[in-house]
């Protein structure tokens, strides 16, 4: 398999530093080498995707290959980010996996209605968490063929 694109990137939208630290720690152990970007809330995430605000310099900001999205965020929350991205003509092809604590059936239903590509409930169990993150990485970055970034 010859990579037709230089690299994949992962955008993690996560407000909890501890959760992100745990995620990063686990993901690095899995020899995940692609760049990981993190946004702490929904507004940052939208700025990142639209390349506005602090992300206005286009060369520094790639289009992410996958977005890992927490739902309960300060400011613009994950549900709004999801809705907006999935209705955006260009951005809607970026796969989004919701990674959240919420097991509320209404959240699950509305996320899928809006076109989420996956919904994962964060476990409280380090083994399960490790296994879950491993599955995400293996599935999305090994098994799946992701859409090519348009501008690269």
């Amino acid at each position: 398999m010859t990579p037709a694109h230089p690299t994949h990137t992962l955008l993690v939208v996560e407000d909890s530093d501890e959760d992100f630290a745990a995620f990063e720690r686990i993901v690095r152990r899995l020899s995940f080498t692609y760049p990981i970007y993190r946004c702490g809330d929904g507004d940052q995430a939208l700025d990142f995707l639209y390349r506005t605000g602090v992300y206005a310099e286009p060369d520094l900001v790639p289009r992410p290959s996958l977005i890992l999205l927490d739902l309960n965020l300060p400011g613009t929350d994950g549900r709004e980010v999801l809705g907006e991205v999935k209705q955006h003509e260009d951005l809607k092809t970026i796969p989004i996996v919701v990674f959240t604590t919420s097991s509320n059936p209404r959240d699950i239903e509305t996320c899928y209605e809006q076109g989420v590509n996956g919904y994962i409930i964060k476990p409280i169990d380090i083994q399960k968490l490790t296994r879950t993150i491993q599955l995400i990485v293996e599935y999305w970055f090994e098994a799946i063929t992701l859409p090519y970034p348009l501008e690269l």
């Binding site: 501890e18 959760d19 604590t101 409280i124 968490l129």
Partner: protein, 783 residues
């Protein structure tokens, strides 16, 4: 409501024989002549056959001649000017018939019919005083005396005396009709020799509806001689309409043969009746009877009619004056209701209504009352029993439409009421709300009454040879007494009014309550939604730091485990375990809070399948060495499959978990029948069972004689049992009887969830246990 008369009407099942066409008899009485005149050119087109005798002209001489020829232009001119106007103001006309030999003076009465004008002429009485002063003289004394009458009874007495004096009739009576049309003589003036009719009742059919209608239209009727020969009209049909001439308003109209026979049977030779009209309806009659033929002059008749009209007007005032004291008392009771009731809420309303402060019974002078509210009766005073009341309510709901129903003869309408007529012959039923089934009933006992009928009222109908029924005039007017059963004193108009007032006051409360309920519902829905959201947010916000603690404790072990002592690592491991336990608790709480809000998906579920699946799942993870017994197949019941599976899971996993015996067993079974669902009374039996059979006896369902059986499911184990003092607590959320490390741990929410599932299905759950020997959890899935 006079049920007696009504019943008779019903059993007679009269064809419209009641509607004998008495308004078009085609003939008149002979004491006057009748001329039908074409309005356009004032030409005579129909005449009575007796013109020669009274006018000196043969009918043929008059027909199709101008009225001018008969009366002269001047007299015709006199009334033709008012033809468009009100005939009452020109009647009677004082006419001279010029062509007769001695210039006959006549009283003329003119009115319009559907085709043409009808002019009736009667010979004027020579001594008649026809001016205004004469009339005044006739009625002045009568008016004075009528005005000084205080009561209806006195008024009736005054008028019969006055009219007897004016007319000189042998007998003058006032008849009053009741709701059903039956009449009663309420006042009478008569010649001493005559038998009194005062107080006698006459059935409604003595006066057919058609006659009543004419009485309403036409205020006065005179029959000077009941033995008269009817005088036919020439030609037979009205040439203007080709139909019989409508004589509804003609004073000379020939009388129905039936009525004539009736009067003859009463030995009456002449009669006059004056209508009493109250608020547009025939209230009664003033009837004058005379033993020999008697012509009552027009002026006297006018005076009588005038007195009748005055009495008609007085009726309203006099009836309003009746029972004035009683009405005042009712008003004051009513005022108290209207003052107190609006301050009540739905719950205090019943207590308020039956409280001695308010006189619910006195409000309508009832002996008993029953209030039906929220599916049960609250009674006051003498009422039928609860079963009878329930059936009466059903009867009312299927037999009445109106919100207010009343009768003084309930047994005649509702057969079952016959059995409690001594308590409830009279009924007022007030419907506050048909949909919510809110009713107030008042009862009056039977009052045995003796009714004096003018002749046996049961036989007024003759069966003809061809099987047809025909109204026949009464043969006998002798007193005929009847004891009336199943009747109470009638409800007075003022009592019914009081009920109506009460009704609107209560309806106000009910409506207000409905509004409040709607508002509370909206609030409840909102707070439920908020609570739901809160449960998720709370669980999320609790879980996030918890996850941090968990992960970091793990990272510490991973990264620094080698530098920590064994004790340090063990403490971190405890920290990790506690975070997991906390998560279990949060999840249980969330699950419990959602349980009450998820819709039940009721379907027929084979519990054998449910139990098999549950056991499959449980045996994967836990206690495979437990022996499961199912003595007989479980039934199929209506329930929510998922929730009931959870119920079995919780109970079975408890039964398997809390067991320290070498040979563990769990029995799943059910009892049939609806034995008393008491927690305590089964306790001893349960112990005995176990003592007898050493806890291994096959479950023998308690014999139950009474179908339909509601299965009582049970899950019995030979586990550690529960001390008596804990039995009440084990269903409380997070109430645990054992330390978290014992018996595999648990959050303490399982039984609370089990209880909620059972209760949502309308069932009950309870436990019996012997400490150290085992427990049995019972539950039903319907009440």
């Amino acid at each position: 409501m006079n049920s007696i008369a009504r019943d008779r009407m019903a059993t007679l099942d009269l064809p419209p024989g009641d509607r004998e066409p008495i308004h078009i008899p085609g003939a008149i009485q002979p004491h006057g002549v009748l001329l039908l005149i074409r309005e356009a050119d004032l030409t005579i087109v129909q005449v009575s056959a007796n013109t020669a005798a009274l006018l000196g002209r043969e009918p043929e001489e008059l027909l199709n001649t101008p009225l001018n020829d008969l009366l002269g232009a001047a007299q015709v001119e006199m009334f033709s000017a008012c033809l468009d106007g009100d005939f009452n103001s020109i009647n009677p006309l004082h006419l001279m018939i010029p062509h007769t030999q001695q210039a006959q003076r006549m009283d003329g009465m003119i009115h319009q019919t559907e085709a043409g004008l009808i002019l009736e002429l009667e010979p004027a009485q020579p001594e008649e005083e026809t001016d205004v002063f004469g009339f005044y003289h006739l009625v002045k004394g009568a008016l004075n005396r009528m005005q000084s009458a205080m009561t209806l009874e006195q008024l009736g007495q005054v008028i019969v005396q006055e009219i007897r004096q004016l007319t000189g009739c042998d007998r003058v009576m006032v008849y009053q009709f009741d709701d059903s049309g039956a009449g009663q003589v309420i006042a009478e003036a008569r010649q001493d020799a005559l038998i009194p009719y005062l107080g006698l009742h006459y059935p409604a059919i003595d006066i057919p509806n058609s006659a009543r209608q004419l009485y309403t239209l036409n205020g006065l009727r005179l029959i000077p001689d009941v033995h008269y020969q009817p005088v036919p009209l020439i030609p037979v049909l009205n040439p203007l309409s080709d139909r019989p001439t409508d004589l509804s308003l003609a004073v000379l109209r020939s009388v129905s043969p039936c009525h004539i026979e009736y009067l003859q049977n009463m030995a009456v030779a002449a009669s006059m009746s004056i209508s009493l009209i109250k608020q547009g309806r025939l209230w009664g009659l003033i009837a004058c009877h005379h033993g020999t033929p008697k012509f009552i002059p027009y002026a006297v008749r006018i005076a009588c009619e005038f007195l009748g009209q005055v009495m008609s007007m007085e009726l309203i005032a006099k009836e309003a004056n009746e029972d004035l004291d009683y009405k005042m008392k009712l008003k004051s009771i009513q005022a108290k209701f209207l003052e107190t009731i609006p301050q009540q809420n739905q719950h205090s309303l019943i207590n308020c209504l039956i409280s001695p402060d308010l006189q619910l019974l006195d409000l309508v002078s009832a002996q008993g009352a029953a209030i039906y509210w929220n599916g049960e009766f609250t009674t006051l005073g003498n009422t039928p029993g609860p079963n009878a009341l329930n059936r009466l309510l059903e009867w009312l709901e299927s037999h009445t439409e109106d919100n207010l129903f009343y009768t003084d003869a309930l047994p005649s309408l509702c057969q079952e009421a016959e059995s409690y007529r001594s308590i409830a012959s009279g009924l007022i039923a007030l419907t506050i709300s048909r949909t919510n089934r809110n009713y107030i009933l008042w009862f009056r006992p039977e009052v045995l009454q003796t009714v004096n009928w003018g002749g046996n009222p049961n036989q007024p109908v003759e069966i003809l040879e061809n099987g047809e029924k025909r109204l026949t005039p009464r043969q006998s007017f002798a007193l005929w007494q009847e004891t009336v059963r199943g009747k109470s004193l009638p409800w007075k108009a003022c009592e019914i009014e009081a009920v109506q007032e009460l009704s609107s006051a209560i309806v106000g409360i009910v409506l207000r309550h409905a509004d409040e309920l709607a508002r509370i519902n909206i609030e409840l829905e909102r707070s439920n939604t908020e609570l739901d959201a809160f449960a998720y947010v709370a669980s999320h916000d609790l879980k996030e730091p918890l996850r941090g603690i968990h992960n970091y404790a793990n990272f510490l072990i991973e990264d620094y485990g080698h530098v920590l002592s064994e004790d340090g690592v063990s403490k971190l491991q405890t920290l990790v375990r506690l975070t997991q336990r906390m998560e279990d608790l949060i999840n249980s709480l969330l699950h419990f809070s959602r349980l009450g809000r998820v819709e039940l998906n009721l379907q027929r579920v084979d519990l054998n399948t449910v139990v098999k699946n549950v056991l499959d799942v449980l045996s994967i993870s836990k206690e495979p060495e437990v022996k499961i017994r199912i003595p007989r197949p479980l039934p199929t019941v209506l329930c929510d499959r998922i929730q009931v599976a959870e119920l079995f899971t919780n109970l079975l996993s408890n039964a398997m978990k809390y067991n320290n015996k070498a040979e563990k067993w769990v029995e799943i079974g059910f009892l049939e029948g609806s034995r008393e669902l008491g927690v305590g009374n089964r306790d001893k039996r349960g112990k005995e069972d176990r003592e007898d059979g050493g806890g291994t006896s096959s479950s023998s369902p308690s014999p139950s004689p009474s179908p339909p059986p509601t299965p009582i499911f049970y899950i019995r184990d030979n586990g550690i049992g529960i001390r008596d003092r804990h039995l009440d607590n084990i269903f409380r959320i997070f109430k645990r009887l054992h330390g978290p490390s014992q018996y595999g741990g648990g959050t303490g929410a399982g039984l609370t969830i089990a209880k909620k599932i059972v209760e949502r299905h309308g069932g009950r759950i309870w436990v019996e246990s012997t400490y150290g020997e085992g427990s049995t959890f019972y539950f039903t899935l319907q009440s």
